[in-house]
């Protein structure tokens, strides 16, 4: 582009220079032409002037000769003048005046008219300046001829040398104009004849208002300068003309005459050719410029296109290399003749062999193929002869000896024209995937074997209620093969299809069902009662795939249940029977205790009463032994009454309904102790409470329990001067543990078993009073509360009785 711009600049510079030179040349040429024309005209007009002057001189000489001869032959002179005048077309009159300015001779002159021209400039100048010679004055409109003329005159000398008149010729202004018009100055050019005072004597083209121009002094500074310096010729350019048109003027002085010819050429005209040429040249230059610009743009565009195409090609090339070389998999292109045309560098990663090795050895692939898998490749070779694309998995032995699985896929390559160009092959190392697949197969086989091993019929159901999978237990229970079952409606294999359908719909709705009972129908019609446990299962994304249902054959269970029912019925019958028996026994027991309470007591009272009556009323008839015996009877009846009372109380403990509630142990112990202390005021008893916790039980029974224990302690501390009875306890989350300790006589641990039995004693009879029901009652009360009781003792040291009570309801506080 810069080159084009430079060339254009140069061209424009050259054109400008050329035009400038042309311009200067044109100027010079115009100047020269004007100069030459004006010189030519000046010579021409000077020649005319010479002729006129010669005629004037001749005429004057003739007049003077005649005058010298005395008189004037008017006729001859007139003829002479006419002859002269005819010879000169330049003038239209040749006349002579006398010294007074009266026109006397000449063409068309009537002397009688006495035309006086003494006022004329030429006459005045000839008269006033005797040595003037030829006088040329400014044009006038002649009186006689009524035409414009430039009067040219010479004086006539009388023989005495005085002024005798003037011979004058009127040069036709038209003629002069015609002369001026002989040169071509162009449409706007001008030619004029001027005198030294710059007065316009003649001009071409003739102006319309000629009298305003002719004879007027139209000063031009350049011309004045020319006249002033006395130079004969000169050129100048000025617009100082009448019509204001700029012209180039050339002025030339007429040889021998004080007149100047001024040729003006309009700049516009003489430069027209240059302008025309300049315009054409400029047009050419512009055209050249445009041409070069367009062609250079076209060239640039072409270059750009080529550039783009080149870059595109480079990009394509790079793309091709990227595609071909940066493959993850081992790829290659095998030509029609099974020669390797391209081998991706990744082959080295997969096989350990470089591309160049493969290119050098076309059979390398077969050489590294595991021999056991060569038949796969052979079969594949056979396949690809008939198919456009094919795939095969086989193993190779890498250079390092490792065996890798390769997923080989290839497809035929065809050129634009449909020509077979071999095969494009992709080999992927799929060893890891193969391992995973293998493991998954193992896992699948394992899972499947577990499913098949299940003795429960297992089935999976799709959302449409169709069976999607079964195990062999299902086949067995339905009597149908797997392929018969899969794809069929699940509910069709049950005695109650609607219930079966409701079952799996419930699973889809709620996610699972438990112990849903149905009856499976075998092909042969027999029914198997089953209990279904089913839940939905999902894929990795959490999408519900279907229902997994496991049936449990409950035939045996049903039978067992029936047996249980039967046994239950029997048991209930037996229980009812036993209950009745028990109730009867209870009744008997009640009656028994009632009879003890009533019937045993009555005779006892009789014995006691009548023995007493005997003592009261018949003591006089009895000796002391008799009275002693009656006393023994009284004592034993009293003791028997006590035994009966205690036995009754003991029996009643077993029958009384229990009323549980919180019991303040400390308060109860203190109450019982106070009561017992009152019954033995002579004893020194000391009660020590070791924080026995509150308990939960039947207050009446607990009171009896504590009373019996404390009473026991009081009883067995009788030998002690100071009896110390401690009551304490502790509690954990399940039970409260209480104990009552004394410092009494204690007992031998080998009799500990006897302690809590009714009517049994750990001490010899009579040593301590008591029926033997106290501790039995304690045991009974504790047992009825669900607790345990035991005793610890040492002879002469003391005893500790422990019992526990379960905490059924946490009592608050102590």
């Amino acid at each position: 582009m810069a080159g084009v711009a430079l060339i254009n600049l140069f061209v424009f510079g050259f054109v400008a220079l050329f035009l400038y030179q042309n311009y200067v040349e044109s100027e010079r040429s115009a100047e020269l032409t004007a100069q030459n024309l004006s010189r030519l005209l000046a010579q021409d007009i000077a020649g005319d002037m010479d002729k006129v002057d010669l005629t004037l001189v001749s005429a004057a000489d003739e007049v003077q000769r005649q005058l010298t001869g005395g008189d004037i032959d008017r006729q001859a002179l007139n003829a002479f003048l006419e002859r002269q005048q005819r010879r000169l077309p330049t003038i239209f009159s040749l006349r002579i005046t006398d010294a007074n300015g009266i026109v006397l001779l000449g063409s068309d002159v009537d002397p009688a008219a006495r035309q006086n021209n003494s006022d004329r400039e030429y006459f005045v100048r000839q008269r006033d300046a005797p040595g003037a010679g030829l006088v040329i004055v400014k044009p006038v409109f002649t009186r006689l001829d009524k035409r414009w003329a430039i009067p040219v005159s010479r004086p006539i000398r009388l023989p005495d040398g005085s002024f005798g008149g003037v011979v004058y010729a009127n040069i036709s202004l038209d003629h002069v104009a015609n002369t001026l018009a002989t040169i071509d100055v162009g449409q706007h050019g001008s030619v004029s004849l001027r005198d030294v005072e710059q007065r316009v004597l003649a001009v071409y083209p003739v102006p319309v208002d000629i009298d305003k121009v002719i004879g007027e002094k139209l000063a031009i500074p350049e011309l004045q300068e020319l006249i002033r310096t006395g130079r004969d010729a000169g050129t100048y350019v000025t617009a100082h003309t009448v019509d204001g048109v700029e012209r180039k003027f050339a002025a030339n002085r007429l040889p021998d005459y004080p007149l100047y010819v001024v040729v003006g050429r309009a700049t516009e005209e003489y430069m027209a050719r240059w302008r025309d040429q300049a315009l054409k040249t400029a047009l050419l230059a512009v055209l050249f410029c445009l041409t070069t610009l367009v062609s250079s743009w076209l060239a640039y565009r072409g270059w750009r296109r080529q550039q783009v195409a080149t870059m595109e090609l480079a990009r394509e090339e790079e793309k091709f290399h990227t595609v071909a070389d940066y493959t993850y998999d081992w790829e290659y292109w095998e030509g029609p003749a099974q020669e390797i045309l391209f081998m991706s560098p990744s082959c080295e990663r997969v096989t350990g062999y470089s591309p160049s090795e493969f290119l050098a050895e076309p059979d390398l692939l077969y050489r590294i193929t595991l021999p056991e898998d060569l038949h796969l490749m052979t079969a594949h070779r056979h396949d690809v002869e008939h198919e456009d694309q094919a795939a095969v998995d086989f193993r190779i032995v890498r250079r390092d000896g490792e065996i890798r699985w390769i997923a080989h896929g290839c497809r035929a390559v065809f050129g634009h024209n449909g020509k077979f160009m071999g095969r494009r092959v992709n080999n992927r190392d799929v060893t890891e995937r193969k391992q995973v697949e293998h493991e998954m197969r193992l896992a699948y086989a394992y899972n499947r074997s577990l499913i098949e091993a299940s003795v429960d019929p297992l089935v999976t159901i799709g959302p449409d209620g169709k069976i999607t999978d079964v195990n062999s237990a299902t086949e067995a229970v339905t009597g149908r093969a797997r392929n018969e079952l899969i794809g069929t409606e699940f509910s069709d294999y049950f005695s109650d299809p609607a219930h079966a359908r409701a079952g799996y719909q419930q699973v889809f709705r709620e996610g699972r069902v438990r112990d849903y009972e149905l009856e499976l129908r075998h092909r042969d019609g027999h029914l198997t009662p089953v209990r279904y446990n089913a839940s939905i299962y999902r894929d990795d994304a959490g999408q519900i795939l279907g229902v997994f249902a496991a049936a449990r054959d409950i035939s045996e269970q049903r039978q067992a249940e029936a047996a249980v029912h039967r046994l239950n019925d029997e048991l209930e019958q037996r229980v009812a029977q036993r209950t009745a028996e028990l109730e009867a026994a209870n009744k008997e027991l009640e009656e028994f205790s009632y009879s003890i309470s009533h019937d045993l007591r009555t005779p006892l009272r009789a014995i006691s009463g009548f023995a007493q009556i005997l003592v009261d009323e018949h003591s006089t008839s009895l000796d002391s032994e008799g009275l002693r015996l009656l006393d023994v009877v009284g004592t034993n009846t009293a003791r028997m009454g006590q035994l009966i009372d205690e036995l009754l109380e003991f029996l009643q403990l077993g029958r009384r309904p229990m009323e549980f509630g919180p019991v303040d142990t400390v308060q109860l112990v203190e109450e019982v102790f106070a009561e017992l202390q009152a019954s033995v005021p002579e004893r020194r008893l000391q009660l020590e409470l070791k924080n026995p916790p509150a308990l939960w039980g039947d207050r009446t029974m607990i009171r009896r329990l504590l009373k019996n224990l404390v009473s026991n302690a009081i009883k067995f501390t009788r030998p002690r001067r100071q009896a110390v009875i401690e009551v304490g306890g502790s509690r954990d989350a399940h039970e409260g543990h209480y104990w009552v300790k004394d410092n009494g006589v204690g007992f031998d641990m080998k009799y500990v078993d006897k302690l809590f039995r009714v009517f049994e004693h750990a001490h010899p009879a009579g040593q301590f009073e008591g029926s033997g029901t106290g501790l039995a009652m304690v045991r009974r009360i504790v047992a009825r509360h669900g607790g345990r009781v035991w005793a610890e003792g040492q002879v002469d040291t003391g005893s500790t009785f422990h019992f526990t009570l379960p905490i059924k309801e946490a009592p608050n506080g102590t």
Binding site: Y594, R601, T602, P603, R605, A638, G641
Partner: protein, 149 residues
């Protein structure tokens, strides 16, 4: 005005002769047996009180000051006798003292529900028995006041 013979202060309902004798002896010790009638079962007791059967001629308006009632009785039980006495407007006001060997809670409860005036368990010991019977005789015969018709 009731006949002198008709005046009965104590009606003893007792089937066991020994107990009856002991009771009477105990009352005798306190000189309270001036007018005591001893009947040996519930039916006879009812006949006496309602002047029916063997006692049909008895003056119904002359009722005992207290009835000593054993519960274990042949024919009609003591409970039933109590119920009949307390359910009849005419006999309701007669004080009834149950004097029995039974210490059964159910008996005590039932008797009080029926409106017994006192429930005494016979002590086995004769001394105590004499003491108890004497006290109750004194109380009901001498201290207690009943409404007069």
């Amino acid at each position: 005005m009731a006949h002198e013979d008709d005046i009965v202060e104590i009606l003893l309902v007792e089937d066991t002769p020994a107990d009856a004798e002991l009771t009477i002896r105990a009352l005798k010790k306190h000189s309270l047996v001036n007018s005591l009638v001893w009947v040996k079962d519930g039916a006879e007791a009812l006949d006496f009180l309602f002047a029916t059967g063997a006692y049909a001629g008895r003056d119904f308006g002359c009722q005992p000051k207290v009835v000593l009632l054993d519960l274990r009785l042949p024919r009609v039980s003591g409970i039933e006798v109590l119920r009949r006495i307390k359910n009849d407007e005419r006999t309701r006001t007669i004080p009834v003292v149950v004097l029995t060997s039974s210490k059964e809670d159910v008996d005590i409860e039932e008797c009080y529900k029926l409106g017994v005036n006192s429930y005494i368990t016979k002590p086995v010991s004769f001394d105590e028995f004499v003491k108890v019977v004497g006290e109750l005789g004194l109380y009901w015969l001498l201290l207690n006041k009943i409404p007069h018709e």
